[in-house]
């Protein structure tokens, strides 16, 4: 194909071979891959990468995965949820190991992005593995100086099937020390004595955890499409400005 690039224009997004430097199992179905990517230009919290797998016969499968690590960390961490009938996620979760290579390109996206310079209050709403890009924002937030954080209150409402399905659970439970308020909504099963929410995210929950529209919070919602659309619609009904609500829908292909 003819190279139509003009001198001085930004280069195309190139595919690079990343090396797996570490793997951590987060839950029964989610695994974090720590990637070392040559010439990685850095990223912003909320961005994603494309991952490409190429079979011996040339067949390619490509998926997008959010970056879980904050810009302050040099390695790029992806947390991948295994979808049993998926083409890519079972390979990333079950087969890929330390030292293996995998093709990635990125960082991608400037829309679903937050940094402390944008300010707050910041309301984050996650469903399932939708926590991943929001975790990059939280981790970015927790690396900023205390006095800067004090001006930006952050609240997270995270819906998962069971407590065991909560990704980054230990880290999230520790967050109250940093001023991030975390609330879990368990939709399928809860441990005995559970004092948190025991239902799907609804209007009452968003009003209890979120700020009123008069506080003009920035809102980022990420998760399965039906959850994201329901939450975004309810937030608009409550009176939040649609332009302050940014969504990232996760599709059913893995």
């Amino acid at each position: 194909m003819t190279d139509l690039r003009v001198a001085g224009t930004p280069p195309r997004l190139e595919w690079r071979v990343a090396t797996v430097a570490g793997v951590h199992n987060e839950t029964r179905r989610a695994r974090t891959l720590v990637l070392e990517i040559p010439q990685w230009p850095g990223h912003r919290a909320g961005q994603h990468v494309d991952v490409r797998l190429v079979a011996d016969d040339g067949y390619q499968a490509q998926r997008s995965y959010s970056i879980a690590s904050p810009p302050e960390r040099s390695a790029v961490e992806l947390t991948v949820e295994r979808l049993d009938d998926g083409e890519v996620s079972p390979y990333l979760c079950d087969v890929l190991g330390v030292g293996d290579g995998v093709e990635v390109r990125g960082p991608i996206g400037g829309y679903f992005v937050w940094d402390v310079a944008q300010g707050g209050p910041l309301l984050l709403v996650a469903g399932g593995s939708g926590i991943v890009p929001l975790m990059a924002m939280i981790r970015h937030y927790t690396t900023t100086p205390d006095e800067q954080r004090a001006r930006i209150p952050v609240r997270l409402l995270y819906s998962a099937r069971t407590l065991d399905d909560v990704i980054y659970r230990g880290e999230l439970e520790e967050l109250s020390r940093t001023g991030v308020k975390v609330a879990f909504a368990l939709t399928r099963d809860a441990p005995a004595g559970w004092s948190g929410y025991r239902r799907r995210i609804d209007r009452a929950m968003l009003e209890e955890i979120g700020w009123p529209p008069s506080e003009a919070p920035r809102v980022f919602v990420c998760g399965p499409t039906p959850l994201v659309e329901n939450v975004a619609n309810v937030l608009v009904q409550i009176g939040h400005e649609p332009m302050r609500i940014r969504t990232e829908r996760f599709g059913p292909t893995g």
Binding site: R105, G109, G110, Y111, T225, G251, P252
Partner: protein, 97 residues
């Protein structure tokens, strides 16, 4: 598989948009040729398939942009965008309301 579950954000097409545009355009504003409403490219509705993607207007569902990868060519039909406003400046700052 339900169509609703297949619906993503334009942001999800960021990789292919970077194949087409030299810039990061998910923060660019697109005016729909169907209804005139303006949305960030990243806030359009994305319907992806193996060959490419369709981006639809969140207000009226018009297909504002179609991108397909065919042998040797990336084909782009952007006839549903009547105006595209791309943030200018080296900082690539997001448009803040």
């Amino acid at each position: 598989m339900q169509t609703e579950e297949m619906r993503l954000d334009g942001n999800a097409a960021g990789g292919m948009l970077r194949d087409v545009f030299a810039l990061e355009v998910t923060t660019a504003l697109a005016r729909c040729a169907g209804c005139g409403s303006v949305a960030a490219m990243g806030a359009l509705l994305e319907y992806g398939q193996a060959m490419g993607v369709v981006l639809r207007c969140p207000t009226c569902d018009t297909a504002v942009m179609r991108m397909a990868r065919t042998p040797g060519w990336i084909r782009v039909d952007a006839s549903g965008i009547s105006l595209l406003m791309i943030p200018d400046g080296a900082s690539q700052a997001t448009h803040d309301q």
